[in-house]
Symmetry: D3
Subunit: 242 residues, 6 copies
């Protein structure tokens, strides 16, 4: 095919991915994740409380919040705290992050505590939610390890790895890990969350322009499988350090 | 397979679907859609204005709002107007409905006007968002036909049909059109929106329990294709009346 | 007198009234009430809790909420949940419904529980608050009967019937049960809530144009007494079924 | 009758009423009204604008806002500005004040301007809304006179006087102008707004305990007529000064 | 120097100050303070509860709220309760008042209770926050004395007097107690809160036009010391009555 | 004196200060400022609009917003966007930043545009507002230089440098640039904003424990003067690069 991606990447090529642990010092887990120019700070905070509807059940909870600094984007976006509410896009993304990370945790083994994953976008260039999930997993493991050391948990509540990537149809061609230039011009955009066993946790595909066909969907899912395998490798490498 | 659905339906069987047009008299389109015990009132309202960011561009907009009457559910849920904001689930669903319906409209042909699709759940038994999309399409067509008669539009802005259905893995078996009993106990839940040409508009799959495999996904997509073909037939039949 | 009502009704004639019980299946009481083209869904929901200021006092509470579907009206009105608050008119109406229904309940006999009456207007053509009160009474009785069967209450907490109707001065003539065409053009509008013993529970009269005289008020009250007697008969008939 | 009012007043006796004009110096009208220990500051503010829905129609608008200082009451009530919204009671009262004062104004003669009546309760002892209406009328006349002097209006837009009083059934006896001790213990409470020609502008009666009978209503209305005549006299006397 | 203040006052001269105790009858302390045309009603309300973070610690809390009646000012300002939130200026002022008054209280001696100081501006002419602090101190002492009589506290929790005044540079000259005409035209505005021992509790200086020099700051602080000494004398005199 | 600061610094010693320009790539100015472990991202965004009250006046505006990432602090603080409003502390700080930066800009020379300074705390260890002001100045200069290059402004609107530092009394000794350990235990805390000409722009001193004396204030102001001179040097050095 003769399509050229704006970044010059191959159609099945991720952007450079970095996972910088201990980026800030207060949080039990703190990771700056970069997917190219997209940079998201993911912190994991442990609190010894559970939501009211979980009290006394002997299990914990994982929740997520997502934010975008006002000038993470090309033009300034209004601060949600100043506007007085979180928008629909923000709520949708943080619900997705929370569900995705809960899929890799045994909540009984966690015990009656909450781990909150705050994912704040420092700089945006497409794919902030998939970078957030990928980085939040590493922050979550760091927080759980902190807990394991201090609390002598009987079992490790982390039951697998979780990573996410976007795929899409750009100028008729399935591509992996869309950046902003591709995302704003693509026909179809799909976010895929998977575990390290090759199972699907979330698939969210949207036709922006024309509806997509089954064979396009299959091609996108294959790209996502490839990308996520590489992301899981990067997560393992980051966690193996220090 | 020996699994029995709570409703006794076959695994590829929709609930009885009805689409009652002109359910209320003020709206340009007004449809009560039932998927079994799930009943949603979908109204389409035409306004001769566009959002600020579309002014002077010669094209229109389709938007949607979703609500649930407090006692549409088994236990009363708090009224969002009383609470002071729409929840994340509501925002997510109404964004989905709006995107889905925009996929079947030529916005230039619509001209500078907005059609708002209000989807209010009178009674809930699972699948309210897919029933809403399926019913809203019929209300939208009625509203467009109202406009065609009155305004002498040059072209019909409706460029295809849109319908939606849920599929899932219930007790290990892929099933079509989950009701509440299945939805609250299933392993995987996927909402699929398609057009009448067999193209995908939205695919949103979530692993509630264990992650799902590619072959399960394929089976679910096949069920969705079958169900949506039946729903499109029901939409056509409803629109052919009167 | 030579005045003709837009609907052709006699000045002391109600619109056709229907009270359809068990309209939805989850609520302990669920009634669709119609006063002509005005249709309001009234559900009664029982919860085994009381507001904080009633805890430990051995008595219950009746409360009401009121809503209007966005396209219940001739032009679409903004959804209160989307706007972020209930308007003054909504709060005023739901306070009125709550006070009216509390007047027919012995709160000691009810015990420590709350019954919430949700009155949602499906279609509006004037008189939505009086239809809501009239229908909510029937839903409340159904909910109390549900409770009597299940809980073996010693006494029936319902101590009388409550119904409501509007009266007004239209083109100089006192009329009963104003529809929208009359309501938007009348000089005086009065909502009257009474019990089945002929006692007044609420009287709310407003001069829209010129101030009204004592003799006009007397004439309106006589019409209200007649109309409410007929509404109480309709309530009894509806409750006698099934 | 042997009933004694807590204040020792006769059943048809108002509390001492004072209307202190020019209480503050910035507002075009500023009146401190006292009904006994109830003290309300009523200011009238003129603005040369109209609400959007009145633009270009050549007529003005009268609106009202009502507030209660947190410690106007026996125990401190939460500040509505701190809570983030005005309660249902506040909205209901300010809508009543606005409607009542609009009844004495010719809006064409007022021209395209808004007069806002702010009624803030400094000290509460029952009857704050009726005191507010009675005082706001005097502030409104002062503001209109300010406008007449400065703007050379062709006609005086004030077309009559408006005053308000509460009546009720206290220990079985109809009484005029309830104070807090009576209000919190009465069976029925009715607020009556009338003009100086003996016409009714608003009647809002509520049975707190047992439903009230027609003859009780008639007795209350007679008391209201007497009280309002005295209030109109007090308004005239206050306006005749200075 | 030849500068003349708009009010004709000497540069080190306060406006006439009055402190009228028992201005309203419900609050445990209630003071109307006037600094010239600036009039603020300060009430002190005692509640036998503490904020959650102080429970069981055996100490109390002092908090403050500030409000401005809509027409306290030359042109009407929007009611914060209607707008749905307190503005930044309001929050800043009430935080200042609360901190200032806490500086004169021994919270252990107060015991587990909260005293709330509500400072509501009836009429504004500059210096509302300094008048509020000065008046709130007198209301606080009255409330504490009420408590001492009723509760037989072992120690008086009031450990000193607190007063506040503004100073500024007006037309190049340091002046004491700016009124609105000066405040809106001055180069520098400084609010100073001190105790009766000559210690500083708060100093908040802002250069409105050019930055101010150390020697100007020194001159302003000397004026503040003089003014506050006079205000403390006025507070003592007011408290010595009755 | 024998007092030892928790950090081991001399009493007149700043923490290590860094100003990293072009920290993110979208904003016209983007600076990560560190005062020791306190790290604040300051971005300057130019928009070609002015607030309504400045339209047509030929001058611009500088405004600021402040935020704290939820886990910038030792324990997680609630996200203001999730809570639905900015707290009093946030509003107070962003008002201070805005006023401070406006003091170094000629608004006529800026022309009809707004520069918004977003100061987001990535990691907090005391002194976030003074770090924010110091960093925001550098971001503002970068944004103005961007504008000068692109727009060929006649004059440079920056008329001086602005920096800020905190000073306090810690264990009886005046110290410069308090970190969190000192800030939470000090008797007095003062934030000082000055320009590069030695003029004061803001002085905000608060006695946390005992009131402070004039001589203590003088000592603190001298420390502030020294610290700000060093900060201005650091700003110049950062701006001289690149």
């Amino acid at each position: 095919m003769t399509m050229t991606r704006p970044s010059g990447r191959a159609s099945d090529q991720l952007r450079p991915v970095t996972l910088q642990r201990q980026y800030t010092r207060h949080a039990e887990g703190s990771v700056l994740v970069s997917f190219g120019d997209t940079r998201v700070l993911c912190t994991a905070s442990i609190e010894d409380r559970v939501p009211p509807w979980l009290r006394g059940k002997g299990e914990g909870w994982i929740t997520a919040e997502y934010g975008m600094l006002p000038r993470a984007t090309g033009t300034r976006t209004q601060r949600e705290a100043a506007r007085g509410s979180q928008g629909g896009r923000t709520l949708e993304i943080q619900r997705l992050i929370g569900r995705s990370l809960r899929a890799c945790i045994n909540r009984q083994a966690l015990g009656e505590r909450v781990i909150t994953l705050d994912c704040d976008v420092i700089q945006a260039d497409g794919g902030t939610r998939t970078a957030a999930i990928t980085g939040a997993y590493v922050a979550l493991v760091d927080a759980v390890n902190f807990l394991m050391k201090r609390e002598n948990l009987k079992r490790n509540p982390v039951v697998g790895a979780v990573a996410a990537v976007s795929v899409g149809i750009y100028q008729g061609v399935p591509v992996l890990d869309l950046d902003y230039a591709e995302d704003s011009a693509c026909d179809t955009d799909m976010n895929v969350v998977m575990n390290d066993g090759g199972g699907f946790i979330e698939v969210q595909g949207t036709a922006e322009g024309h509806a997509f066909r089954r064979e396009e969907m299959d091609a996108m899912l294959r790209l996502a499988e490839k990308g996520i395998a590489e992301l899981v490798t990067a997560q393992c490498a980051a966690l193996a350090e220090g």
